[in-house]
């Protein structure tokens, strides 16, 4: 089984869904058995989500959408 350091090395790949199925299972097995690592992963995931939700509040101004729409072929 992976130890805490090895699991931490895979933190972002895990959160980014970039691990293989086998690696994913290894990390999950550790997290199931290790509450401190689980807390840590949850916190890191929340930070990433927070960045995403903050930035996604912005949308293109209607005037820009209109300008680009006019660039489309008639």
């Amino acid at each position: 089984m992976l130890d805490c350091d090895e699991v931490m090395e895979r933190l972002y790949q895990f959160l980014d869904r970039e691990l293989s199925e086998a690696e994913l299972a290894e990390v999950r097995a550790h997290l199931d058995a290790c509450p401190p690592c689980r807390d840590r992963f949850t916190f890191e995931q929340n930070v990433l989500r927070r960045v995403g939700t903050c930035c996604r509040q912005l949308s293109a101004p209607p005037s820009l959408v209109e300008k680009v729409r006019r660039m489309c072929d008639q």
């Binding site: 869904r17 960045v51 912005l58 949308s59 293109a60 072929d73």
Partner: protein, 204 residues
């Protein structure tokens, strides 16, 4: 393919491209730092995209293709004429994980998971300010991964860098972002709540 079919697929592609304008705009806004330049960059992106739409291979990722065009327009066009000071180096900047700092600082546990409470009390402005303080390449990799949800492979293609570079850049950028969030948060006047709990939870 006859001309009618070609015209239809072209207008369909344009329509699909248009559906990504919010994502392109918010990325352009964070990259340039202001609405006017962001609008110019997005217009330039669509101009280039529509001009080379015949080069787009149907079935491949149109969204990633548009972001690649935006990135190239930003690097080759915008940044060259920009007077915005360009910060590119992360050297000599202390990077740390927010989590470790929170745990090490011994915040008083007002709940079973005090670090989550602290994160919830950090205002959006502090998160945005922290992101804006990152060097271009690091800000962009965070935007592509955490805001737009691109895979490492797609980001590598968009930024024309190897996947390994994307991974290391993303790792460093996120750590730097966390220390910047903390700096922005501790620098801002406390405006959360009236009972002072959030201020008490603020880190030293």
């Amino acid at each position: 393919m006859n001309q009618d079919q070609s015209a239809t697929s072209r207008s369909e592609l344009q329509e699909e491209a248009l559906s990504h304008i919010d994502a392109l705009y918010r990325t352009a806004y964070r990259m340039t730092g202001n609405a006017m330049d962001a609008e110019d960059l997005v217009q330039e992106t669509y101009l280039r995209a529509f001009r080379s739409l015949h080069q787009f291979r149907p079935g491949t990722n149109l969204r990633a293709w548009l972001f690649k065009i935006l990135t190239n327009a930003f690097i080759n066009d915008y940044r060259k004429r920009s007077r915005r000071p360009r910060s590119t180096s992360l050297d000599n900047v202390e990077d740390y994980y927010l989590y470790s700092h929170l745990i090490d600082s011994g915040i008083q546990p007002a709940s079973s998971r005090p670090e989550d409470e602290v994160l919830a009390n950090i205002p959006d402005e502090a998160v945005i300010a922290a992101l804006d303080s990152l060097p271009d390449e690091f800000r962009q990799v965070v935007l592509l991964a955490d805001v737009e949800g691109f895979s490492y492979r797609e980001i590598a293609d968009i930024m024309s860098t190897p996947v390994g570079t994307v991974m290391s850049r993303l790792h460093r950028a996120r750590r730097r972002l966390q220390s910047a969030i903390l700096q922005a948060y501790t620098a801002a006047p406390c405006s959360v709540g009236s009972d002072g709990d959030a201020c008490d939870a603020r880190l030293r």
